[in-house]
Symmetry: C2
Subunit: 339 residues, 2 copies
DNA sequence: CCAGAATTTGGGAGCGCTCCCAGGTTTTCA
DNA sequence: TGAAAACCTGGGAGCGCTCCCAAATTCTGG
């Protein structure tokens, strides 16, 4: 009755100030972790906040202040959905974990082909302080465009276009290298690969690792077929490889999901896995352990991926200096029955 | 130099008003789609908005207005991650698609066991207008708690606890029913099931469908083993079933991912699929098509799931009357080689 | 011992918008 | 034909906070 307009519930900064016996300027300083606040005031404010259950109003902070207190997670969805799904969920979990406890909102944007311009306008329009761009397609211009407007970003997955964008990626090269070394240690000599698309960094880096592993031992690096990240394409690629070299004795497949298709073809053609042909995948996705036979694969920690991207972005927003431009996360070989 | 404080880029509502030759009240009315605006003014405002590339400031709208212009997507993550991942990504895509073009932000929250109370405080603290709660675990109290505070919510997946929460779910019952009818039409008579957990609606509903399908034809409904949504547990359940009835001729598995484990066991025991034992899964997840043999399964459209939840929530927020309390989405049988 | 620097505090303008109010104009209906 | 109802508009208070400014206090070093 006495309220003019319907107010949001909860106490305001003014009440905290009153209870703590200081001004609202001081409360604001404490909340934002500024220096030039006496220990005495800081304690009093913290007590008052706890007592009242105060939580700052996000909209007001954003409106009054010079930052948005929010970051965006931008998913660039150009095909390759199959690869994206489990990857994406894991990354998201990591991002969220890293954000926990900070007063930063996570906004989600998916790259609809229709609204490229609108999206850029939104992102650079002061609604967010920075963006995490998960861009599986290496040549996507979005990260660069955003970066050039001065918006702090971190790209997930090495961007292909030259220049220097901050990014986080799994160490695809060394993962593949380790896979090939493992195959060689098993005595395999005719080692093929089903590579990812040539326009994706993830595809290229895994291919390079395979090449290096073979080159180390003077083995031939001819048996390459490019494919996309689907089981069907993996099957097709395997057929091509068998056509090129029916006597191959191992294949490194750049994604578990493609390995599934490849294994189907191998088994249909009467090859025994791993006796005739050893198979190593990549990702250690949920399908790897339940494949028949269980798939030896290179594990990447997607949750760590999300956490690291977020950490890097927040560090930059906090004004930290000397941050590494790019961060590669370790991979590890998971040995199962297929190799 | 002339700017006192660093301002956000872009035009403000005042400029739109000036260009359109009206007051900012009128511009606000147009933006919010209120009635009591002449067609002439409306046109002028729209032209001015397009001309200036104006986009309303979210923080200011939220602060000044009585709504937050944001909804939350709350993921209740109590185990069952494997099921959740692809499901979750699809739902998210649907949510996003439905939100496109509206001035509604999507906030993401994952249920960290640690911050249950903080999360509720945040959600009911006026930061969001409503919430989508994806809660696979049927007895999760969060949806009910939120609903009781008056926050509009839509639950994804039928909530188990009695009462009347608005929810969206796949028609698990009829999907299972159709699967069983298909098996019966194939001449199978000893049809087992690997059911989901008994404390999840999704598990119970699929089990009920199986029961009904058998009951329709007077078949025995004894061969049930409960399991959780992992391949390992599926394998274990299959072993139990074979122990109970080595001569079973079909099995309906409540999730593709469990079916994978079950098929491994069947094949290891020398059963041929589908000749000896027919297998039908549920979900039509990415693994179904690449299983050996390819898995016949019940398809649910997870993207539609997300879209429908969002539509239902936005409709309620818009004050629409006579909304259905619950919505069941159709499923369809996808025939492949396993049955 | 005192000028200047460093620290600590409160006051208040204003971020960009919505929503209430008051006033004017047009339509409706008995 | 006149009063009530519906329609349309602009002005301005204020949402809850941050950040600038000015002032008060304490700490330095020559």
């Amino acid at each position: 009755m006495t309220e003019g307009r319907s107010r949001r519930p909860g106490p305001r900064i003014e009440e905290v100030a009153r209870v703590a016996g200081v001004s609202k300027s001081t409360v604001s300083r404490v909340i934002n972790g500024e220096k030039y606040v006496s220990e005495r005031s800081r304690q009093a404010v913290h007590r008052a906040i706890a007592l009242l259950g105060y939580s700052p109003n996000h909209a007001a902070r954003t409106l009054a202040g010079s930052k948005a207190n929010a970051i965006a997670l931008v998913i660039s969805e150009q095909g390759s959905r199959v690869l994206a799904d489990p990857f994406f969920a894991g990354v998201l979990r990591g991002v969220h974990a890293e954000l926990a406890g900070r007063h930063v909102q996570l906004l989600l944007m998916m790259n609809q082909p229709s609204d490229g311009a609108g999206q850029i306008a939104y992102l650079t329009g002061g609604h967010v302080d920075g963006a995490l761009v998960v861009s599986l397609h290496g040549e996507d211009p979005l990260p660069r465009t955003l970066h050039e407007t001065g918006l702090p970003i971190v790209v997930g997955g090495r961007p292909l276009a030259g220049g220097s964008l901050p990014f986080v990626d799994s160490d695809n090269f060394n993962g593949a290298l380790e896979a090939v070394r493992h195959l060689i240690s098993l005595g395999r000599e005719k080692i093929a690969t089903i590579a990812g698309p040539a326009d994706m960094a993830v595809g290229m880096d895994r291919l390079s690792g395979w090449r290096c592993g073979l080159a180390e031992h003077g083995l031939a690096v001819k048996l390459v077929v490019h494919s996309d990240f689907t089981p069907e394409a993996g099957a097709l690629a395997m057929e091509q490889l068998l056509h090129m070299a029916p006597d191959l004795d191992a294949v490194f497949v750049a994604a578990d999901i493609m390995a599934l298709g490849a294994m189907m073809v191998l088994q249909a053609r009467g090859y025994h896995i791993p006796d005739d042909v050893a198979v190593v995948g990549f990702d250690d996705s949920v399908v790897a352990a339940t494949a028949v036979p269980p798939l030896t694969t290179v594990r990447q920690d997607v949750e760590q991926f999300g956490r690291t991207m977020t950490w890097r972005l927040l560090a930059e927003l906090a004004g930290e200096e000397k941050l590494p431009l790019s961060i590669l996360l370790p991979t590890s070989l998971v040995r199962r029955a297929s190799a």
